[in-house]
């Protein structure tokens, strides 16, 4: 069955709309026998922000790493297509990938302390992509690095240029990493749990900063998140992942306000909100990669599962402006 064509809602609804910046089609990733990502379909348009949401082991970070070519053959086997500005990424040579990474695609990782090199000053680290991709001279790089630090809200950037990462607080290190990621005005920003190590007040500052910069540069962003409420606040679209598959994807206000997939519903009822009275955990746990159920991967934990669910995998269908992979959508 060819579901891939029907699965890009933009293409179906608005044939005249510009091509997506990023297009993932029937993308699968295997590590030996284990199918880590299975038939992922996504489209991200210029200026949009997308949130990948799910529990650990859902494949969110794997998808992000595959997008930037840090997970490639022969380590893993890729199938399907990843297109960025029309370029097929799965076929790209490493040298060409290096021209994209840090240049057209910026990266923000969860742990800034681990991502920054402790042996170089933050100024040198912000300047590195400027040298490699833009070929700026030493003094231009320094000026530009200071301007970037200013733009991510680091006070007294001229003084901090020569600071080493350990001399800065966790929030400031995160800002430095954002400055590195944005140095070359990327068209796509990938942020893997950019704030989960930070306090809520700093999280709000950093998220506001990322969104602000992304809008100023008219870029798109993909966030890997585990916090649904934060996803609702920062993302235009949400893709809910479970055990390597996207179970529901669409505009964040609709997906999170009125989830259609039982897993999205289950996740939402686990979220602790201010003044929550009752949490209803999803029973059971994510199946291990080497023992995935044959039909719907969520079936063993699903309150609505029937016989067909454990036999046949449900294909994603367009429903109320989103793709949902479930046999029993109300």
């Amino acid at each position: 069955m060819d579901c891939a064509v029907a699965l890009t809602p933009q293409a179906a609804d608005m044939p005249a709309s510009p091509p997506p910046l990023l297009e993932v089609r029937d993308f699968s990733l295997r590590r030996g026998q284990a199918v880590v990502l299975d038939g992922v379909n996504l489209a991200l348009h210029p200026g949009e922000t997308l949130g990948l949401i799910g529990e650990s082991g859902a494949g969110k970070s794997t998808l992000a790493l595959a997008l930037i070519g840090l997970l490639r053959a022969p380590e893993v086997q890729l199938q399907g297509s990843l297109r960025f500005r029309g370029t097929e990424l799965t076929q790209l040579r490493e040298a060409d990938y290096r021209r994209l990474r840090g240049n057209k695609i910026g990266l923000i990782f969860q742990d800034a302390t681990a991502a920054l090199n402790p042996c170089f000053t933050v100024g040198e680290q912000i300047a590195e992509p400027l040298k490699r991709h833009l070929g700026l001279s030493k003094w231009d790089r320094r000026d530009r690095a200071a301007a970037l630090m200013q733009s991510v809200g680091i006070p007294e950037p001229r003084l901090r240029l020569d600071a080493y990462p350990h001399e800065l607080s966790g929030g400031m290190q995160q800002r430095v990493m954002i400055a590195v990621a944005l140095a070359c005005n990327p068209e796509l920003l990938l942020a893997d749990e950019p704030t989960s190590a930070l306090d809520v007040t700093i999280q709000a500052q950093i998220m506001e900063l990322i969104l602000d910069r992304v809008r100023a540069l008219n870029s798109s962003a993909v966030f890997v998140l585990h916090d649904l409420a934060l996803g609702a606040q920062v993302c235009d679209r949400i893709a809910v992942m479970y055990a390597g598959q996207i179970v529901e994807e669409g505009p964040s206000d609709r997906v999170l306000a009125a989830p259609l997939h039982p897993y999205t519903r289950g996740l939402k009822s686990c979220v602790v909100e201010l003044g929550s009275r009752m949490l209803e955990p999803i029973p059971g746990q994510v199946p291990p990669l080497n023992a995935m159920p044959a039909g719907c991967r969520f079936a063993p934990r699903c309150p609505k599962a029937k016989a067909i669910c454990s036999e046949q995998r449900p294909l994603a269908e367009i429903h109320d402006g989103r793709q949902v992979a479930c046999w029993f959508i109300d």
Binding site: E55, S56, S169, G170, G171, M172, D199, V200, T201, I202, Q203, A204, Q205, M207, E208, L211, H226, D227, L228, A229, L230, A232, Q233, V234, L256, A257, G266, L267, S269, C270, V271, V272, E273, L274, G275, S276, L279, E280, P281, I282, Q285
Partner: protein, 323 residues
């Protein structure tokens, strides 16, 4: 009024910092806690909430007697923790259990789960040697884990399972008080919900007094009936959970609530700047540098924690009006 199980009387904890150069010999002081007053009644569930660096963990270390207070007194029942003799200390260790932030790191990686859970029972001689095994199985059952895990090592368990084992170990000595440091941080939402429900049910069923450290106001409000908000070593506001959530009176509490991600409100960076260093504290209110409603008096006078109602206290010269 019942006698409180824990009382903190103007507790202070300072750390001496080594002077940076050999010409500069004046030692500097880091004030991790400053004038903390707190009463904990039997059966209370209290959340200590604040950003990193607010002094939450130091406070709990003092309450556990792991560190002495530099000034002020920590009373358990009627007794000063600093003056317990060996026998009393042992009884204290049985009655007050601690669940560490890093559950896996708090267990000996070379001991099996069965031995980890049996250790406190054996140490406090709570039952006959032959009765230990069934007791350990009952403990695992109480935290919703199968007996099949008994022969496993900590490294073989998942993040959710290991937290449950940590809770089971805390329950092993039948404590009256459980203190827990960020026990659900870093878990997936569905697992976090399971562990939170478990903790909540345990406290409700057995009337255990709970002191729970968290930076997550949502978790605090779900688990605890009282909340104390800390900022730079001081309690800036405390009271019943509902009151704190609905009518925060301290600007810092309000900012924390506003920064909490929610489905029905846009993202709001309610606070600028970061928590300042606890070395060389400012003269007036500690929060003045980040406060949106700061006035001239705030930079001069250090507000004390004062009672608003019978059970509500706030340390602010100009508390936010109750709506």
């Amino acid at each position: 009024m019942q006698q409180p199980i824990f009382s903190l009387l103007d507790v202070e904890r300072t750390y001496e910092l080594r002077a940076s150069g050999w010409l500069n010999r004046t030692p500097r002081q880091l004030k991790a806690l400053d004038g903390v007053r707190l009463d904990l009644q039997r059966g209370d569930t209290l959340a200590l909430v604040g950003e990193s660096g607010s002094g939450k963990s130091t406070l709990i270390r003092l309450m556990l007697g792991l560190e002495p207070a530099s000034d002020g007194r920590v009373l358990y029942g009627q007794r000063d923790l600093a003056q317990l003799d060996a026998e009393e200390r042992k009884r204290f260790a049985r009655e007050v259990a601690f669940i560490y932030q890093n559950a896996r790191g708090s267990m000996n990686p070379r001991m099996r789960i069965a031995d980890i859970l049996a250790e406190p029972i054996r140490l406090h001689r709570l039952c006959e040697e032959s009765a230990i095994a069934p007791r350990v199985v009952a403990l695992l059952d109480r935290v919703g884990l199968p007996a099949g895990l008994l022969q496993r090592f900590p490294s073989e368990l998942s993040g959710g399972q290991i937290r449950r084992v940590a809770i089971a170990r805390a329950l092993a000595a039948e404590p009256q008080v459980i203190m827990a440091d960020e026990s659900v941080a870093g878990l997936d939402v569905s697992v976090q919900a399971q562990v939170l429900n478990l903790l909540r049910d345990l406290c409700r069923e057995s009337g255990i007094t709970l002191v729970f450290i968290t930076h997550d106001l949502g978790v605090a409000s779900y688990l605890c009936e009282k909340i104390a908000v800390l900022y730079l070593g001081r309690i800036v506001e405390q009271g019943p959970t509902d009151a704190i959530l609905n009518t925060p009176r301290h600007p810092y509490t309000r900012a924390l609530l506003q920064a909490f991600p929610r489905f029905d409100a846009p993202l709001k960076a309610s606070l600028s700047g970061e928590i300042p260093s606890p070395v060389d504290l400012p003269k007036g209110c500690r929060f003045a540098g980040r406060c949106a409603q700061v006035q001239a008096a705030c930079r001069e006078t250090d507000p004390a924690l004062t009672a608003l109602d019978a059970d509500r206290q706030v340390a602010c010269l100009f508390p936010v009006a109750a709506i």
